[in-house]
């Protein structure tokens, strides 16, 4: 027998064995989320936040201007804790695990404000913090430095707020900055803008790397703020069209970005702050024809695709990424190890939006938009808004169903 053939065969056997072993490991089934409860919110909830310490979810009802506190154990509203926000128009919300405070971004009036709420008493702490900005949107907290970052859509900035002294300490310009001309309002036809500016919307903080990632909604980019210098670090990261929600896996240092009009999720390597691979197509996917939304007409698209919307939930233990598809009314699972969609989407609404793409035009006749995923690692619960249904859906991250195992045949 030829020695080299024998040697090759032996190596092949070893490799095949390793392959099977590896395949068996890789094929460990991924369990998909499963709906376990439904919490009626009674209104339109655009923003949610999580307290891991208290096992509570906070939901702001924009229609009724109420702040609901949802008990993570019973999946019911704590009615006694419900707070009437009165004149405040709250968009962003975040919970400070260290101070047990809830931060609320109020964009009512001519200048936005940051409100600090003591969770224990449900009373506001101090005076509202003036941001001197237009249409503040979202807020994240750097708990290590007791600093908040607030995105100001119509000012094109992120405000840095010293929570200890309850004062704004800096404004950081995002993208091309403020819309022009000064004082215009992109949403007011009587006072239109000629350029929309950076339009910072969603943000996520990675406390391990001291970075805040800011989505520039109109410019299709992500800016990175170094929390140690409070300056934008490096060039903007081009992603897809109208990025509006993010999630971070701090274990792998990957940032996931919803590209609303593309039907995709971009993945950013947090080490290099560059995009990895092609955007991941989620749910019913891309628009047909591509970017047909740009036509500004409801009938311009044969298909509006999935239109993933709002923050992304991340299970850092299992590196699973959960994305809400606003058009499909589903939650989609991405395997963060492979950056591929796994299993079937989980329906969480009364149905997909009809007509598709109607969310762009406020012309929906049926269905409900799924949006804003948050994940509680302590309880393995996902919380997803079903907007028109006025529900907050509760899902078990590791549900009873598994995704079909990936093929072990790579060829």
């Amino acid at each position: 027998m030829n020695k080299s053939i024998t040697k090759s065969s032996f190596i092949c056997v070893i490799l095949a064995t390793l392959s099977v072993t590896h395949g068996a490991y890789a094929a460990a089934p991924i369990r998909l989320p499963e709906v376990v409860a439904l919490v009626p919110t009674g209104g339109l909830v655009f923003s949610t936040a999580l307290s891991k310490k208290r096992n509570e979810v906070y939901a702001v009802d924009a229609r009724n201007k109420m702040l609901y506190v949802i008990d993570g154990k019973t999946n019911t509203r704590k009615e006694k804790a419900t707070l009437d926000l009165q004149d405040a128009v709250v968009n962003g919300i975040a919970y400070n695990e260290t101070t047990d405070e809830i931060l609320l971004v109020d964009y009512a009036g001519e200048s936005s404000r940051l409100l600090v709420l003591d969770r224990k008493t449900m009373e506001f702490v101090g005076s509202p913090i003036a941001l001197d900005s237009l249409h503040a949107a979202k807020v994240v907290i750097d708990e290590a430095t007791d600093t908040a970052y607030v995105s100001n859509m119509h000012s094109g900035t992120v405000s840095v707020v010293d929570l200890k002294n309850q004062s704004k300490i800096a404004d950081i310009v995002i993208g091309t900055g403020a819309p022009t001309p000064a004082g215009c309002n992109p949403w007011d036809s009587a006072n239109p803008c000629t350029t929309p500016g950076g339009n910072p919307l969603d943000m996520k903080i990675n406390p391990k790397t001291h970075k805040v990632y800011v989505a520039s909604y109109t410019e299709g980019t992500i800016s990175v703020i170094d929390t140690r210098t409070n300056k934008v670090e490096g060039a903007r990261i081009p992603v897809g069209s109208q990025p509006n929600g993010m999630g971070i896996d701090t274990g792998t240092n990957r940032v996931y970005v919803n590209n609303w009009q593309d039907g995709t999720v971009s993945v950013i390597d947090g080490d290099t702050d560059t995009v990895i691979g092609e955007p991941i197509v989620v749910g019913s996917g891309l628009q047909d024809p591509l970017h047909c939304y740009e036509a500004g007409k409801l009938d311009a698209c044969k298909s509006w695709g999935s239109m993933p919307l709002g923050p992304i939930g991340v299970n850092e233990d299992k590196h699973l990424v959960y994305v809400a598809s606003s058009n499909d009314g589903t939650v989609i699972t991405i395997n963060g190890k492979t950056n591929k969609v796994v299993g079937e989407p989980v329906h969480i609404t009364t149905g997909p939006l009809v007509p598709g793409g109607c969310a762009n035009f406020g012309a929906c006749t049926q269905g409900s938009s799924a949006q804003n995923v948050i994940y509680n690692p302590k309880t393995d619960r996902l919380y997803v808004v079903s907007l028109a249904d006025a529900w907050l859906m509760v899902l078990q991250g590791q549900g009873s169903k598994t995704a079909a195992p990936p093929s072990t045949h790579n060829h």
Binding site: A182, C193, T194, T195, T218, G234, A235, C292, A295
Partner: protein
């Protein structure tokens, strides 16, 4: 030396002194280069991203047309790098009835391309004013935008003194499209028809590519005929974000560099003296300093940043309108008297152009120089009187630009 020559020499010296701002020695030289690198206004990664937009090929689905001239900015502005000029020209036409200029239906731009054959624009035989205009260089545009109005007005004011009243550049006050009611000295386009890069780019986006935007929300027409039937997108087709990033790109471009080896040569150095002494530099202003950092320009909408402010540039242009006998007969913002006037062609980057003058009708620098008449008549006399060596030196200098 002839008396006028002496006057000119004196004027040239005076012009040189006046053209050299007091702060020139303090102002940093603006960075130059055909290297695709940011001038520091934005980070290189952002520049690269913006350049992709500048080079992006637009389609009907993205708002292109229905009538247009090009599918991307870089289709016309690309030589030798994105943002430069090119041989691509735009067709313009109209009518002069002996007293006044009359715009044709749909405006003076005659679009060469359309998404449907029925929309093809053409020049009517009755229109007796016809011209082509080469795509201009946009490199270094951020520095031009950062020049204070006062600087250009001063140049205009001193030109008659420098030339016995023969040269009198017209500073055209033009509307800032982004600030209704506000005006500024025009400086972009062959007729200095725009004063800000945002205005200039937004109009190009609509006029050249047919993509309506917040500043120019109405579609081009096909010789005045509506194109609605073939327009698939609601207007404005772009809410301005793309125009804003394109403007950012142009602001971040470096100024065109000189050919360092040629410029260092004895002939080019001497030729530059000849250029100034003969009065060429009265209009082709060699040195301008941009406004101080943090100056608010464009009616307060743009604060001059450190990368663009207090910079010495060498555009070899006054950005004013002059009649040198090569005018195209079109009236835009400058009023009836500007019919045959054109903006002084900036000579930075001259060596990258194969066709010269506004219509590309001069194919050599010598030919372009010879075509100067009108306000340039006396300067031309000076040039004719130059010795063969001086002429050689002059053209060597021009070759270095």
């Amino acid at each position: 030396m002839k008396p006028f020559n002496r006057v000119l020499q004196c004027a040239a010296l005076l012009g040189f002194l006046l053209a050299t701002p007091i702060k020139a020695s303090l102002a940093d030289e603006a960075p130059t280069g055909f290297d695709g690198l940011s001038n520091g206004f934005i980070l290189q990664g952002d520049y690269d991203h913006d350049q992709e937009l500048f080079e992006k090929r637009h389609t009907v689905a993205g708002g292109l047309g229905p009538v247009f001239n090009a599918q991307s900015c870089a289709e016309c502005h690309a030589n030798p790098v994105a943002g430069g000029g090119s041989q691509v020209s735009v067709l313009r036409a109209g009518t002069f009835d002996g007293k006044k200029f009359i715009e044709p239906p749909g405006g003076t731009v005659i679009h060469d391309r359309a998404t449907d054959a029925s929309l093809q624009s053409k020049v009517a035989d009755a229109w007796n004013v016809r011209t082509q205009r080469l795509s201009t260089n946009t490199l270094g545009g951020g520095y031009i935008e950062a020049i204070a109005d006062e600087t250009l007005l001063k140049i205009a004011k001193r030109q008659p003194q420098q030339s016995n009243g023969e040269i009198h550049g017209q500073a055209v006050m033009v509307d800032l499209i982004e600030v209704p009611g506000a005006q500024r000295v025009g400086r972009f386009g062959w007729k200095s028809q725009h004063a800000s890069l945002l205005s200039f780019n937004a109009e190009a986006f609509r006029s050249e590519m047919g993509i309506t935007n917040s500043l120019f929300p109405s579609e081009n027409t096909a010789n005045g005929r509506a194109v609605d039937e073939f327009d698939t997108m609601a207007d404005p087709e772009n809410n301005g974000w793309e125009v804003a990033l394109l403007t950012e790109f142009v602001r971040a471009t470096k100024a065109p560099p000189r050919d360092a080896a040629l410029a260092a040569g004895a002939d080019a150095v001497a030729g530059e003296q000849v250029f100034e002494q003969t009065g060429c530099g009265i209009c082709h202003t060699s040195t301008i300093t941009t406004a101080p950092v943090d100056t608010l320009v464009n009616a307060g909408t743009f604060k001059v940043p450190a990368a663009l402010g207090d910079k010495t540039i060498h555009p070899y242009s006054d950005f004013l309108l002059h009649d040198i006998g090569s005018g195209d007969g079109i009236v835009q913002n400058g009023g009836p008297s500007s019919r045959n006037k054109l903006r002084t062609a900036p000579l930075w980057g001259l060596r990258t152009r194969s066709r010269l003058l506004h219509d590309g009708s001069a194919l050599t620098v010598q030919q372009a120089v010879k075509r100067h008449q009108g306000e340039a008549a006396t300067v031309m006399e000076q040039l004719k009187a130059l010795s063969a060596v001086e002429k050689q030196q002059l053209f060597k200098f021009l070759d270095s630009l």
